[in-house]
Structures are given as C-alpha cells and as structure tokens.
Subunit: 130 residues, 2 copies
Amino acid sequence: MASDASRGVLDEPVSDVISRVRFDSAGLVPAIVQQWDSGEVLMVAWMDEAALRATLTDQRGTYFSRSRGRQWVKGETSGNTQRVLGVHLDCDADAVLVQVDQHGPACHTGEHSCFDVEGRQSGTAGNDGR
Amino acid sequence: MASDASRGVLDEPVSDVISRVRFDSAGLVPAIVQQWDSGEVLMVAWMDEAALRATLTDQRGTYFSRSRGRQWVKGETSGNTQRVLGVHLDCDADAVLVQVDQHGPACHTGEHSCFDVEGRQSGTAGNDGR
C-alpha cells in the first residue's frame, strides 16, 4: 500500500480545482474519505463549493451536512479530526477522493469506519473475522 | 492491507439488504468501488435498486448510468469486469462500498483508477511520482 501520499490537486490553485468540479443540481459532490496509508474507506460525505474550498485551504476534512443544511468540520465537536494529505478528482470531476490521517474514530457511532468492514479488512489470511 | 475480503452484506438475504438502503430522491445510492486487496479506490458510480440487486445476486459490479438512464454491468463492452468480493453499507445506509477484484483498467479512459492517484498510491517512499 501507499507509503507516501500523493497530494493530487492540493498542489493546484484552489480556484482552478473548484472550477473543474461538476457539482450536482443541489450544488454538492460526494467525497470519499480514505485513510491515506491503510487504504481503508472511512466515510462518505458531501461537499459544497465552500466545504471543498475549506478542505483544500485548511487541509482539515470539511463537509456539508444535507440534513442540517450547513458546513461542518470533521472533529469540531468530537475531536476526531482529519488531517488532509491528498485530494483527487475522478475522471469526470463529479466525485472527490480525500486521503486523510484520521485521528480517533471516523464514524459518529464510535466505530473506526462508517462501513462494517471491521472483520477482515485489516485481518490476516485465514482470520475468521472475530 | 486486507489479505482476506469481508463479504459484508453479501451473506445476508438480498431483500433484507435492499430494504435497509436509503436511496435518494432519484432512487439512487452512491457506490464506492475499491480494489479488495490493495485498498485503491477505483471509481464512484451509482446504483438503483435493480443494480444493487444484480450486484448482490450475480456478484458482478452493476450500476445505473445517470446520463444514459439505464443499468450497466462494468466490463460488459470493455471486458474490464469486476468480481464482487464484498459489499458494505455505511452507518446510515446511504452509501455502498463495493470491494472487487478488478480485471483490467477500472476507468473508461484506460487508466487503472478513475482517480489520479497513480503517482505514489502504489509507489515506494521517496518515489517522485514518475
């Protein structure tokens, strides 16, 4: 697995990146958040233009809550912050991959990841998942 | 990284999984497609209920094209198929993580991944990305 994160569009001017992204009709783009070294997918969130701009500028994972209708910084209340090491757009620029160093659990449930991949994701061959 | 994939909801009755997923107002859910062993995020696509059902049943990556308005099976024309080894829902069941064994490039551009992570994602420490 990666031993050195690619910074991707973090090295480009923020306004250039913003202009390339194809936000949906609600002004949002899905953000896939991945632990930079293990490759584990931690969570999926959404970004509006301001959240993407903040993520690129501050290099803290910043998203837009569709239910609360406002921007949030991951860890602002829980302390489980995300240091952003790489940001990548997909081939048609309508999804964002955010590679982070996650401090503490990524999921609001207290689980390491929002996906139920605990069993074998980090396990050894033949591990039965317990 | 994982040396054994967790099958996740592949071991549950398909109808139970379908009933748990919170499809959006367009009847879709984002699907994050990850190479099962390296952890690389290959692509983001969308699934309607039928595409998710097909993915769970046939264990071939099957999606819904928003631009073409129809279901498609990854590799049906290119031959770059995806054998599905694990499917996972996130904590609020509005995103799907699909762990696959990707045959050939995942991206329609011919790149291995739809994300521009070529440089260092699989590289060694100190690799300058060439």
